[in-house]
Amino acid sequence: MPIIEVEHLMKDFMIAKRETGFLGAVKSLVKREHIKKEAVKDISFSIKEGEMVGYIGPNGAGKSTTIKMLTGILVPSSGSVKVNGIIPYENRQENAKNIGVVFGQRTQLWWDLPTIESFELLKEIYQVSDKRFKENMDTFTEILGLDEFLNTPVRQLSLGQRMRADIAASLLHDPQILFLDEPTIGLDVVAKEKMRTFIKEINNERKITVILTTHDMEDIEKLCERMILIDHGQKVYDGEIAVVKERFGKTRTLIVDLEESPHNLQLKGGEAFKEEASRFWIRFNRDEVSASELIAQITQTHNIKDLTVEEPAIESIISRIYQEGYQDLPEIVKV
């Protein structure tokens, strides 16, 4: 039984032609000229309980818009959404009890109050029992190290501290589903790592279903087994990350430092796509040629000082996909 079911989901925005000034504002009260913007076009997917799914795509792809429809903030233009059996936009308050939401870009805490007070207020809003509140606070404090800033007003928190507080706040009422819209944005390497560990842990131990959008592919690589890739409001891939890696991972890069710097390097089965002084980057397909064959070719004419072979990270795979299009993607799901 899937916990989230999305079918043929669409969201159009009518973007008003910009009218400035008072007359424009008054005029726009009566009549406006609009341009239709299809932010989400016919997206379908379903997510099982306990899954952790990366929802990715370039800027403006429609990720946040989808999340907003799943959380009941926005009403879809057409299509259906079901979260835990509830239609979010019809039963927004009911749905809100089951979900936790973090918008990485902006906090949901009380700006001027000591952090702990935001937690206490959320306890009241979600009607969390004293006992459960205490248990959760203890757990989160331990894993996220909240105690170092619990008494500091939210406005004085560093970005990393604020994000930790925000994610803890979203989990106080034991939601079954957690929506994370860019939860690692702006964090340093260590803070990102901590955040990932925490997300992993609550997914493992509490069986919370997590949907995560991010522009940091390392988040996806370390956290998710499945990713849904969208662009221009359409789904272009939905499946295991491993499959993508397998397909694109066949391309390797051999980097060699030569003793002299030849004008060009002609190799069979490999393509030098970048050079810098006497260092060359050579792309090759693992199925067609092996690294040692390439090296052997090079040593016939040049002396190699140093070399490395790079496997592509999901990061570079995705950036290639964004740039080169989706035609090579495995099992493009057309619904």
Partner: protein
């Protein structure tokens, strides 16, 4: 050396920018009209059918109020006090200290631009219509018109200097609420903008005459309706000039301390 060309650029830029923020222009005009309606009605009710009171005819009194609202439209079209405070708080003003111009003058010239736009597109058309259709008294001599314009301009300078000086107080005080309210009170009452000084109780009138605020509304209004005439006008203009100089010095004083503070403590 005063680089007029440079400051003139600020004027032009502000003029053009006003066209983009038309909503502001219309909204200001809207509230200006409501206040005109309010004060017009109040004075009509106060006169209650009498031809004259305190030696001033009803028609002149109504003219006084309309001119006063016109001037308050003019004076309200520049950078408002809260915006200056906001600029102080966000550090915008401090950043401008690094630029090769004088900050108070730069804002004054920018205000010329936005005020000119507001006068041309909103105030003048509206008030012209009002003068045509209402029973108001216009000065008959062209000299009076000139003197009125000069006096109103000096009044504008006085107001600018005082308002800017108050705005800059944000450099020294975290919260200026109370002080700003005193400023607004003085601006509306002691300046004679809504009640001419001759209707004040004696002691208060004397007090108001010793303060700079009368130079902003009272003197130009009174010149317009002919309450001040002849050599008295020159005397009044002299008083205005004195206050313009004094409030300029006040602004300089506050600004010097403020910029000192920015330089020493980084704002």
């Amino acid at each position: 050396m005063f680089r007029f060309r440079l400051y003139w650029t600020f004027t032009k830029k502000a003029f053009l920018r006003s066209a983009v923020y038309r909503f502001d222009v219309w909204s200001r005009l809207g509230s200006n009209l409501i206040f005109l309606l309010m004060w017009g009605s109040i004075w009509t009710a106060l006169y209650a059918g009498r031809e004259e009171a305190g030696g001033v005819s009803f028609e002149s009194m109504l003219t006084y109020i309309v001119v006063s609202q016109f001037l308050s439209g003019v004076n309200g079209a520049g950078t408002p006090l809260w915006e200056i405070q906001e600029k102080v708080r966000t550090g915008d003003i401090s950043l401008e200290l690094m630029r090769p111009f004088d900050v108070p003058l730069r804002y004054l010239f920018a205000d010329f631009g936005s005020v000119a736009f507001y006068i041309l597109t909103a105030l003048l058309p509206l008030y012209t219509v009002m003068f045509i259709f209402m029973d108001l008294t216009l000065p008959s001599a062209w000299e009076t018109w000139i003197l009125f314009i000069v006096s109103a301009f000096i009044g504008f300078l006085i107001r600018y200097c005082i308002e800017m000086a108050f705005g800059l107080l944000s450099f020294f005080l975290v919260e200026t609420g109370g002080i700003v309210d005193v400023f607004y009170f003085a601006m509306s009452l002691l300046s004679g903008s809504v009640i001419p000084l001759w209707f004040f109780p004696g002691w208060l009138e004397k007090m108001a005459l010793y303060l700079p605020f009368q130079g902003i509304y009272y003197i130009p209004n009174a010149i317009f309706i002919g309450k001040i005439s002849g050599t008295e006008i020159l005397l009044s203009l002299g008083v205005q000039l004195f206050w313009a100089a004094a409030s300029y010095l006040l602004l300089r004083f506050v600004w010097n301390h403020a910029s000192q503070k920015i330089v020493v403590q980084g704002g």
